[in-house]
């Protein structure tokens, strides 16, 4: 009996094999993505403050507002807020004020941030 050659394989067998290879490729990519994005995602460090979660940003703004209450130096407060990047200091403080209001911060804390926002808006106008 003559040996079986490739040319003897039925076309249906070929397409089935190709189908399984494609399935394996897709499954492999899916597994790789799941591993790289969910199971063991890239860990970041040495981050910049603009990546901070909104509540941490707001707490930072609250710190600046607490200090501003005593120091009454809007320029210094603006410099402290400048770590968040390209937004204007008053806009940064205003965002935090909105977050604080939306998340039921203490009235005294909201008042402090409001005071800072007002001061920075006035200060921005002078600059």
């Amino acid at each position: 009996m003559p040996p079986v050659t490739c040319s003897d394989i039925h076309p249906f067998m070929k397409s089935t094999r190709l189908f399984f290879i494609l399935i394996a490729l897709v499954a492999g990519i899916g597994l790789g993505l799941a591993y790289g994005w969910v199971i063991d995602p890239v860990e970041f460090f040495d981050l910049t403050p603009d990546t901070l979660r909104a509540d941490y940003k707001t707490d930072y703004v609250l710190m600046v507002a607490e200090a501003y209450r005593t120091e009454e130096d809007p320029g210094l407060a603006a410099r402290r807020l400048a770590i968040f990047g390209s937004q204007s200091p008053s806009a940064i403080a205003a965002d935090s004020l909105a977050f604080a209001r939306a998340n039921s911060f203490a009235d005294s804390d909201i008042a402090l941030i409001q005071e800072l926002v007002t001061a920075l808006q006035a200060w921005s106008g002078i600059q």
Binding site: R17, F20, I21, L22, I23, A24, L25, V26, A27, G28, I29, G30, L31, G32, L33, A34, Y35, G36, W37, P41, V42, F44, F45, D46, L47, T48, P49, T51, L52, R53, A54, D55, Y56, T58, D59, Y60, L62, M63, V64, E66, A67, R69, T70, E71, R80, I83, A102, N103, S104, F105, A106, S108, D109, L112
Partner: protein
């Protein structure tokens, strides 16, 4: 016997590798909603300075502690980090900021860790709203008023894996707690003439200790004489101790020394005349030691 489908397995592995390359390199997860502990070192310094400025304004130690813990330090390492940052700022001429950091470090050493710690960081994972419940306390402490904390047990090294408390309930009302009060200045516990030929002539050495006998960095020292005044700081020579500072006295002047944070006044200070074993005279120095009671 069934053949192992090597082709399919190899393709699966190749796909897995492609997926990993895409997920880790080409399009990694975007960074947002990070925590302060992941900040770059210089931004952590900024964060710490803001905490110190806030503490200087409110005197709210529990809130400062909770915020410092966000940077991944325990109470003891926070103190060291604050002192170290204060020294760097002094060297850079940023005295006001350094004072605030040193004051917070001192308060950490003398203050108490709250019994009920705020919620741990992990509880913030699902973005619950941050509720700052620690008390806002006013008025601020004037720069030159010394800090005194009544009832000051030793600070513990309890790990503060905690952040601002998170709750869905309304925030508790502010209460007045731990306001730095006037009083209990640093005491001048010793004033000794030093006759040591190995030291420069007329060297005034000052050592500043906290109540827990730890050296205090960044303490501002004011030295005055007829028609003159200068200031210098502890911690600029860390190899001699964080609480060490020195000053070169002129032989013909009488000095008065005190700490800006409030202390006993060491007055009538003049470089003593000493003699070497061979009988030669030289200008000795003085060593002052201040300690918070």
């Amino acid at each position: 016997m069934k053949r192992i489908p090597w082709g399919v397995l190899l393709t699966l592995l190749a796909g897995f590798a492609l997926g990993l390359v895409y997920a880790w390199t080409i399009n990694p997860l975007q960074v947002y909603d990070s925590e302060p502990v992941a900040l770059r070192a210089d931004f952590k310094d900024d964060y710490r300075s803001a905490i110190a400025a806030s503490y200087a304004a409110t005197g709210n130690l529990p809130r400062a502690l909770a915020r410092l813990s966000l940077l991944g330090n325990s109470t003891s390492t926070s103190t060291e980090t604050l002192n170290s940052q204060a020294q760097r700022l002094i060297a850079a001429g940023e005295f006001a900021e350094a004072d605030q950091l040193a004051a917070l470090a001192l308060a950490l050493e003398n203050g108490t860790v709250p019994e009920s710690l705020p919620s741990p960081i992990s509880t913030l994972k699902n973005n619950p709203p941050l509720q700052a419940s620690a008390a806002a306390t006013f008025p601020p402490t004037p720069e030159d008023i010394p800090f005194q904390f009544t009832e000051t047990p030793q600070a513990t090294d309890t790990e503060l894996a905690a952040t601002q408390p998170v709750t869905d309930n309304p925030t508790p009302r502010p209460t007045r707690t731990l306001i730095p009060t006037v009083g209990a200045p640093f005491a001048l516990v010793s004033q000794d003439p030093i006759c040591d030929t190995n030291l420069p002539d007329g060297l005034l050495q000052v050592l500043v200790f906290s109540s827990s006998r730890r050296q205090v960095a960044g303490a501002r020292i004011i030295i005055t004489w007829d028609n003159g005044e200068e200031q210098f700081f502890t911690g600029l020579k860390p190899e001699l101790g964080n609480g060490y500072a020195d000053y070169s006295m002129s032989p013909d002047l009488i000095y008065t020394v005190r700490l800006a944070a409030g202390s006993d006044i060491a007055s009538g200070l003049a470089a003593p005349t000493c003699q070497t074993p061979a009988g030669e005279s030289f200008q000795g120095g003085i060593k002052l030691t201040f300690q918070q009671p």
